[in-house]
Symmetry: C2
Subunit: 197 residues, 2 copies
Amino acid sequence: MPKGRISTRERIVLAALRLFSEKGYLGATTKEISAESGVAEVTLFRHFPSKESLLREVLSTYTFLPALLEILPSVEAMPYEKALSEIARRFIETLRLRKDLVKIMHSECHLYPEKIKGVQNAFLTELLDILAGFFKSRRKMGDLKNFDEFLAARLFLSMFYQYFITKEVLCLGLVSNYSDDSVIEGYVNIFSRGTKK
Amino acid sequence: MPKGRISTRERIVLAALRLFSEKGYLGATTKEISAESGVAEVTLFRHFPSKESLLREVLSTYTFLPALLEILPSVEAMPYEKALSEIARRFIETLRLRKDLVKIMHSECHLYPEKIKGVQNAFLTELLDILAGFFKSRRKMGDLKNFDEFLAARLFLSMFYQYFITKEVLCLGLVSNYSDDSVIEGYVNIFSRGTKK
DNA sequence: ATATAATGTTAGTAAGCACTTACAAACTCA
DNA sequence: TGAGTTTGTAAGTGCTTACTAACATTATAT
């Protein structure tokens, strides 16, 4: 093991994260990845038996969905619209922190398959269930109309996920005039009026 | 040129569309593409000087955004919610018809670059402007609240685009219990109440 | 029927890929 | 210091890739 610094293995995983997200899994070569991490190519293969195992390590190391689960409990006391805005804000913030990983998930996920897809599906369902629970508890407080909470949760996250992808991954300039805050305000405005009594 | 049948060139483009969408641009080989189209590999290179030029042909041939532009004029006479549902339904229908292309755009678009991105951006902006115009005219009829129409247009399409991608491209089972119609109903319900007076 | 164009067959190139082997150098820690 | 671990260097494997050259075969059209 090295000194107090970042380990060779971690440097490789970090470089792989960067290059996979930039060029895709097939587009990033093991040569590049090792160069980017400042090690010899053979060292990469001493830590990971194959390129695919490196991808798996990247995905499992930098998974961000647990971070998303922490958002919801922290907004319980807020009024409805304020809570929605805060959820959206922190959701986007989390995606931005893990932008490289989001890029990988976005573009490669339908190619590399069932095992990873299962993990994703489980986390996402959990996240949606918790958000749906938030809507249920709010409705008990008498604020909201009747609607399918799970579907509403899906809608809510879709709105902001798509906003993030378009802006940060696809880099389409469509909303260049809109700040995060103004988009959040506009979206939350419509959504909250659509779900309140 | 061949008989009344589909030309060799078209067969190659069709096969490329299929394989690019299934395996990605780098993942699909020219050998596979030529085999899939039933021609010799060398024939592919007689029609297209390079693999990249084939990709460009695929993208420009099967672009579907013009089809989307035709949706809006046809719903002008309908009541608000009915019109929204119809727009959503035909939007999803169009995406499904061009599913292969949507897959390519979805996964490769941030890799292959500025020229294509410009075309996309222009089409999308046009589409959003037209949808924004729809909201403006509805508000003149006194149905709607005040809101940023362009932002609302973006929100509306985002909702259903993300629904489509999750279901048909990522194949995440999240909404397996929901039919297209029930998702459209649920989403449109929230959106229309959020934008009506 | 014959000239022209489109395609097939075969063989090949040069480059890049993931991945390996063998050995020497450096670092870690007792 | 010395033993063990981790890394680097160098060379190379076998495979696949996009792409080409030369020539034979088929289809089309007048």
